[in-house]
């Protein structure tokens, strides 16, 4: 950090003047309002953390179940394709024998 300015013998403020500027009421009010929206409280972060974890777990489960369904579909399609090829081969063989 840089020192921007040096003052020599600046006018001093009196204690009476500073005392006149004392006002605790707005500080108490502000502190009360800040308390209500206290984003730094452990409760806030706890709740946010738990809900993000729950969302992550749900998303993961959803993705897994989708992959499982896709796998089953692919297996069924494969089975169908294999059986139809087998049938075709058998038909071909029987045709050859007959002819």
């Amino acid at each position: 950090m840089e020192i921007k300015k040096i003052n020599l013998d600046r006018k001093n403020l009196t204690s009476t003047y500073i005392e006149l500027r004392q006002d605790l009421k707005p500080i108490l009010n502000l502190a009360r309002n800040t308390k209500m929206t206290d984003f730094k409280s452990p409760w806030f972060y706890g709740a946010i953390g738990l809900s993000s974890m729950a969302i992550a777990v749900l998303f993961n489960n959803e993705m897994n179940s989708k992959t499982a369904i896709n796998d089953e579909t692919i297996t069924l399609k494969k089975q169908k394709a294999t059986s139809s090829i087998k049938n075709n081969i058998q038909i071909d063989r029987s045709y050859n024998v007959n002819s």
Binding site: I3, K5, I6, L13, I27, L28
Partner: protein
């Protein structure tokens, strides 16, 4: 060098202050006595380091608001409550400098210059005073804050340590080094 007696409390005063803290921890409305006692000290600490009076009052209010919000976390360590307030004030002040709301300023009284000259040099001439003033302007901020606290605000090493969150001995060493650097700036040939 004389030391500002504000910081040094008797056990009785420390206990009285602790009872105010305990009350404020239970009920923030009871923060009044602590605010009344330390408002001027904290304001002067802030205003000493900047030029904008209104902003200094604003930052002082922010310091007390933060203190009030976090008073439940305050732990008594046998030192005045002011050291905790000064630490908050320091952090708020430097945040204002970083946000460019305020400019780091050093405020010196003429008699402070004479006191420093007495400490580091025998030559008390006007020319020396001018050189010292120019040398202070060349100093790094971290060295300047030690000179400010020790020579301008007359704080004890214990209090400086509490504010800067270093040990009393470390504060002593750092202040000594800052003075050595100032001597080098005043008499570069040495």
């Amino acid at each position: 060098m004389t030391v500002n007696p504000f910081y040094h409390h008797t056990n009785q005063r420390l206990e009285e202050e602790l009872s105010w803290i305990r009350r404020a921890q239970k009920d923030p409305e009871s923060f009044g006595p602590l605010y009344k006692k330390y408002h001027e000290q904290i304001f002067r600490y802030i205003y000493q380091r900047m030029d904008d009076e209104e902003l200094a009052f604003d930052i002082t209010s922010q310091v007390f608001m933060k203190a009030l919000n976090n008073i439940s976390k305050y732990e008594y360590r046998g030192v005045p409550f002011s050291s905790w307030l000064y630490r908050i004030a320091k952090s708020e002040l430097y945040q204002a400098f970083r946000d460019r709301k305020a400019e780091r300023t050093v405020n010196i009284e003429s008699f402070h210059l004479y006191e420093i000259i007495e400490e580091i040099d025998d030559d008390h001439s006007e020319e020396k005073k001018r050189i010292l003033f120019e040398s202070l302007a060349k100093m790094k901020e971290k060295d300047m804050q030690l000179i400010e606290m020790r020579f301008f605000e007359k704080r004890s090493f214990r209090e400086i340590g509490e504010i800067l969150e270093i040990t009393e001995n470390n504060a002593k060493v750092k202040a000594f080094r800052a003075i050595e650097k100032l001597k080098q700036l005043i008499n570069p040939k040495q």
